[in-house]
């Protein structure tokens, strides 16, 4: 049979040893799992990330959630959804009236944020003419819902959280973007729009930026986000 691997990064055409996997395919899987496990525990270098984001022209502010370390983060999601006291004070000092805030958060893959947050924003920001943007917020040990606290803390009408997704075996560095209109603690997932798998091998930066721009414009125009706000308009996969 033709080699199906030219069409997909999925583990197709692996062959068989009886019903099971041939040794090589089995051990390559084990290696990939080992690397994904390591990625989950890779710490965010917030100082380096702030330097990468600086050329975008927006101020960058560093924050952290109430989860003091990765173990606490994994066991208690609520800790990752709440700012620690020092971060709350830093944001209060920057309070204003903003159309949107970008929150760059480690999530489950700091690697994703290090690799893709700055290039994605570099594609997107030039299109946001006429938007008043808050300082970019970098957050350690953070989950998506941290944006619900960051938005009102800064006085932003919309939060866009760029966050490291769960590492997959062939993608330890996938970035997700979550848009929430009128962020506030208690928002549910149905009130957000999500674009996932942002990375050159998945959804490339220009396409991700285009989709995000569409959602941001529509969200601002219709003053809502989530299930009622569907993506349309030239957003279908190429045939």
């Amino acid at each position: 049979m033709k080699d199906l691997r030219v069409f997909t990064p999925a583990r197709v055409s692996l062959g068989r040893a009886g019903s099971g996997l041939p040794t090589r395919a089995h051990l390559e899987f084990q290696l990939a799992h080992a690397r994904a496990r390591d990625a989950v525990h890779h710490p965010l270098d917030a100082a380096a990330l702030a330097l990468d984001l600086a050329p975008l022209g927006l101020p960058v502010v560093r924050t952290a959630s109430e989860a003091p370390n990765r173990d606490a983060y994994l066991r208690n999601p609520n800790a990752g959804r709440t700012l620690n006291a020092a971060s709350r004070e830093s944001l209060a000092a920057l309070h204003g009236h903003f159309d949107a805030v970008f929150l760059v958060a480690d999530g489950l893959s700091a690697l994703a944020v290090h690799r893709h947050a700055a290039p994605l924003l570099a594609c997107l920001l030039p299109s946001l003419t006429g938007w008043t943007l808050a300082p970019i917020v970098v957050a350690e040990q953070a989950r998506v819902a941290l944006g619900d606290e960051v938005g009102p803390a800064l006085g932003a009408a919309m939060s866009v959280v760029l966050i490291g997704e769960r590492p997959g075996l062939s993608s330890p560095d996938s970035l997700g973007a979550y848009l929430t209109w009128s962020p506030a603690p208690g928002r549910t997932d149905a009130e957000r729009n999500c674009i996932s798998n942002i990375r050159p091998e998945g959804l490339p930066y220009p396409l991700a930026a285009q989709r995000l721009l569409y959602l941001m414009n529509e969200s601002r125009r219709r003053k809502l986000s989530g299930v009622p706000l569907k993506e349309e308009a030239a957003l279908t996969p190429s045939a």
């Binding site: 033709k2 030219v6 997909t8 068989r16 066991r75 998945g202 957003l235």
Partner: protein, 448 residues
């Protein structure tokens, strides 16, 4: 109503049935996160002893989530069949376990009880059952459903072919479909999780699968697992929708966090049925569930996660689904910490689903931030297959390159079918045997 149990002179008190159920639950991180778990191993054992003495009738006396404010509770109580319950009316939870394990409780007897059992009873009895009990009872229950083929017959194990691609590439998805079909996967459904939730994507991917299915005359069905409203919009625009999918949970508030309610699911079932794409009277819905979803939406009402999960099955059974599966290890370590907790949860969910009359499958899976690996999945897969699970997932090499988690592979299904003498759905098996020699040609079609 308070409950208590005394162990060597020490009295353990449980202020109500919710507390008792939570403290009697075998240990898991989600109940600890919610602050509901037993404080010690002895307290858990005492709670199980107290729970065993609770009459089943008590579960009908007082809803655990308020009837007035929760439509799932209203569904459970309004659809309860008192006549079907009458053979159980005199039993306690412990006596119910003994009866389920007895020879008298055969397939026919268990089938008759289904409308008389409410999810809270199923959850309660599962909490005092070991894995072998969960397996032995579930193995007695067959739930058969139909769309273009027949799923759930004795001696059969089906698979959902899950050909996801990180950018919804039709060629990439087709490649995984061809790989899976060539290994005998896909009789339950060919079901794609799209990256992008919009009606145009749903329509493109449904047409892709439909073309392959019609060209090769494959007796199976397709589904694109977008939000129910997205699938409905695609359907209105003429997309070839076989099954409508939705994630569901066990409380109204949790379902609301998914952007759904029972009326919307009613509308979806009617819409799918109106297309008449399956055999007459076909089952047209596909649901996924998973312990922890209610707590994750802060919508658990102080109920433990396994009881919430069982309540989701009441939602499912209202819509006579073709397929229901728990995505047991997907939610993460804050709800099911490690392989041991995932293993038990998978068997609990399968047992409760079957006891409530559902065509229960399981996504045997884990994420990379959980303390679990392939060995844990082998154990759960093998145990579920002995318990008679209707279907499992078929993912190329067990690695879902879109959702970033590990499920079961095409090879895993071959292993367990071969080990236990299980076969695919009969119509699909016959098709596979007829076309197997020609399947390599299928790959050549991808570029065309």
């Amino acid at each position: 109503m308070p409950f208590q149990h005394t162990v060597s002179g020490r009295v353990y008190k449980f202020e109500n049935l919710r507390v008792l159920l939570a403290k009697a639950s075998p240990a898991r991180s989600g109940d600890q996160l919610a602050g509901l778990a037993a404080a010690s191993a002895e307290e858990r054992a005492a709670a199980q002893l107290a729970l065993a003495d609770v009459p089943l009738k008590v579960f009908l006396a007082e809803p655990l989530v308020p009837y007035e404010t929760d439509e799932v509770t209203r569904l459970i109580f309004d659809s309860h069949d008192h006549a079907a319950f009458s053979p159980l009316a005199h039993l306690t939870v412990g006596e119910f376990r003994d009866w389920l394990l007895s020879v008298e409780a055969g397939s026919v007897e268990l089938g008759r009880l289904v409308p008389g059992i409410i999810p809270e009873m199923a959850a309660a009895v599962s909490k005092i059952m070991r894995l072998q009990d969960l397996i032995a009872v579930a193995a007695k229950i067959r739930v058969v459903t139909r769309f273009r083929n027949t799923l759930g017959l004795p001696g059969r194990l089906s698979t959902r072919l899950q050909p996801n691609h990180p950018s919804d590439s039709p060629q990439g998805i087709a490649a995984s479909i061809v790989d899976g079909l060539s290994l005998g996967s896909g009789d339950a459904v060919i079901g794609i999780n799209p990256v992008t939730d919009n009606p145009s994507t749903v329509a493109i991917l449904l047409r892709l699968v439909d073309r392959i299915r019609e060209t090769w005359r494959i007796p199976t069905q397709s589904c694109v697992l977008a939000h129910v409203t997205t699938q409905l919009e695609a359907l209105r625009r003429g997309a070839p929708v076989d099954l409508i999918f939705q994630s569901i949970a066990g409380t109204e508030a949790a379902n609301s966090s998914f952007g759904i309610n029972l009326a919307l699911l009613d509308e979806a079932e009617q819409a799918a049925r109106s297309l008449n794409r399956g055999v007459p009277g076909a089952n047209v819905m596909y649901f996924e569930t998973g312990q922890g979803s209610a707590l994750s939406a802060n919508a658990h009402h102080g109920l433990d996660q396994q009881t919430c999960e069982a309540r989701a099955y009441a939602v499912a059974r209202r819509f006579h689904p073709l397929l229901v599966n728990t995505v047991v290890g997907f939610i993460g370590p804050e709800y099911l910490y490690d392989g041991k907790q995932i293993l038990r949860a998978g068997l609990e969910d399968h047992f409760c689903g079957k006891l409530l009359g559902l065509p229960m499958g399981c996504d045997v899976c884990y994420t990379n931030h959980a303390e679990a690996d392939q060995d844990d999945m082998d154990a759960l897969l093998t145990l579920l297959a002995t318990a008679g699970v209707n279907y499992i997932m078929g993912v190329p090499g067990a690695d879902d390159v879109m959702l970033h988690y590990q499920s079961t592979s095409f090879h895993d299904a071959l292993y367990v079918r071969s080990l236990l003498g299980l076969r695919p759905a009969p119509e699909f098996e016959q098709w596979f045997n007829e076309v197997q020699a020609e399947l390599p040609r299928m790959a050549a079609m991808i570029e065309a």
